[in-house]
Symmetry: C2
Subunit: 424 residues, 2 copies
Amino acid sequence: MSPAIDGTHDAALQSWVESANDPASDFPIQNLPFGRFRGEDDADWHVGVAIGDQVLDLHAARLIASRDMNRLMRLPPETRHILRQTISQGLRAGSAQQKTFQAALRAQSKVELGLPCQIGDYTDFYTSVHHATTIGKQLRPDNPLLPNYKWLPIGYHGRASSIIPSGQGFHRPKGQTKAPGQDAPTFGPCRRLDYELELGMLIARPNVLGEPIAMADAESHVFGVSLFNDWSARDIQAWEYQPLGPFLSKNFASTLSPWMVTLDALAPFRAPFTRPEGDPEPLEYLDSPANRAQGAINIELEVWLQTARMRQAGHAGERISQSNYRDAYWTMAQLVAHHTVNGCNLRAGDLFGSGTLSGPKPEQGGSLMELSAGGKQPLALSNGETRSWLEDGDSVILRGYCQQDGFRRIGFGECRGLVLAATV
Amino acid sequence: MSPAIDGTHDAALQSWVESANDPASDFPIQNLPFGRFRGEDDADWHVGVAIGDQVLDLHAARLIASRDMNRLMRLPPETRHILRQTISQGLRAGSAQQKTFQAALRAQSKVELGLPCQIGDYTDFYTSVHHATTIGKQLRPDNPLLPNYKWLPIGYHGRASSIIPSGQGFHRPKGQTKAPGQDAPTFGPCRRLDYELELGMLIARPNVLGEPIAMADAESHVFGVSLFNDWSARDIQAWEYQPLGPFLSKNFASTLSPWMVTLDALAPFRAPFTRPEGDPEPLEYLDSPANRAQGAINIELEVWLQTARMRQAGHAGERISQSNYRDAYWTMAQLVAHHTVNGCNLRAGDLFGSGTLSGPKPEQGGSLMELSAGGKQPLALSNGETRSWLEDGDSVILRGYCQQDGFRRIGFGECRGLVLAATV
């Protein structure tokens, strides 16, 4: 099921791209995440792989014939695997391809990084039981976790058109809200703007409509993982979401990071998938021995906040929470199997959001709604500012990395977004 | 705001395509709906306009340079209007273009009709207050209509990948369901399969992320209207939909009819938009004088059911309900204005579903859930069969047309889907 550990993961591997050998780099030769970039004069996106502070243009390096990332994502998993091996070998210190590859390198700082692929359909899940419980307590103190939660991965469809690349600002949304006790809603800028710490999973191989993907095949349909911020307008959400779910409270913007870390790269960081004693066993279509053995992935996640005042002071921001993807209640394979069990077809470039990835402790909340207890306990920042909700000029930066004895640390880069004032 | 009535609507117009002059034809020269077709040997879709039992290939008729429907949909409304005039003139009896156009005609029966365009994002609304009330009564007898219903058009995002063209069958979905009183859910084929009678609105001009579309401009962003069946698995829906909305109960298949009837063609059938006395006035961003004067559209809608037994007996099916789009609680312009008021961007080819269009009378329910009272009062068919829910081999056919004194009747064609058995 999951990709195996092989020579590409060897901690001793060094690259002739010197910046990749820096232990602090997110993109050592053991990582090789895929993304799209373009230079100032480029009309179209190029397909690239991050290595240190550089990006390797796969077309210029004569590794692929097309410049279409979604086409590359549709390749059979064996072919993707061979492509990874080839890139790894070419970037190794002493490689005979150094000259060809060197000509295909661009400094990341000199190019624009876009969305990693063209997004088809976007589905958001709700896989953190800690997030679901904390939010549920605020809405339904007596009944925080709904009875279906432990039986199926709750998910719903989101908006693909408003997914924006890391670094792009967005305007505070306006909409209808209704304060408790008021007779009628009012219209105006959102007053409870929030972020959501998520991972984004990008789909690789499509399945045919009517043909579910079994657990055993599920991970071969996932190309890679990025960081994802599902910005949320909590006051708009509270008024609009019954009975059909969130809509305008979510679809004004969602930010996706540029690099897709492949499941091949994540192979060393797999972990057993377990559930608290007494919880129901997954139904058969959501279960497999491989999923129990290594369905989880050990990915450390961080949320950083940089307020306008910090930015003016030259302060890069402050870490406001940390969690780990290992704590999710449903695995990636289970999301794929569940999404398709009714015959629904996935296409290359479709995006799954993990849902807000909160940890078990209160300070591990993946949103301000959790960290500020619904706005009742404002978060204190070290420069004296406080935050119940996001303010104009705030930047939220998501970071992620895998770290484990015997392996090189691999990183996800960053997912950054800036809140701009509402338009007049 | 809305397109005006002009010479293209003149009831006296006749076409040199004889079949278009048949009063029973859905596609007289006053209609001219857009769609995509291909012949047996065509790799790609062609852009066409229906006329009688023929389709005019717009590229072959030298009317457009590209064969990309979505590109055509992005044209400014004035250009679309001129294109309509040109097609109308060329198809009129006595036209000088008859020879050129004749060479660009194909019999509809000899080509495959596909989805009318490439669908981007798909949003489903809930605009029939009659549907919302009847369904609400089944779920919440004391509180059928939620407090937000009359203040904002409830909507949620749906699945684009599984939207299929009219005529294509789909397999009964499988999934988790939980019967009342049971401790745990079970997995198997859906037992409460339903259809939903909807209209589909296809978006024309995009807006930029962060820039809402005002009511006055809203209709210029709609290209046309098709028939849409939002197939629903009611038992899967009941178990999965809290708290984030319907998911696998809807995304296994949705059927869209091939022809987009333009707002230009619908100009003669506009009607005042009114609300029952005592209902709240729409907030300012959802209101305009033009919307009050002619925001509604008089479109007659019908649902036909053809069971396998009827098919074997050579029986074309039986009409099981009728309603009218005029009875919707929110207008098309309001849907566009609401969807974008938070800055959400629409793209050409995006689809809005109207939501199930039920009329005010019980027999005007737009789904079996309404007509059979949640399965408690099976619908009696004239051949002795009954239906609480759809059975394998059932075909559901949606039809729509506009009819009004002084104008030619214009039709929407049909939206047909066949329920196949669940896969083993």
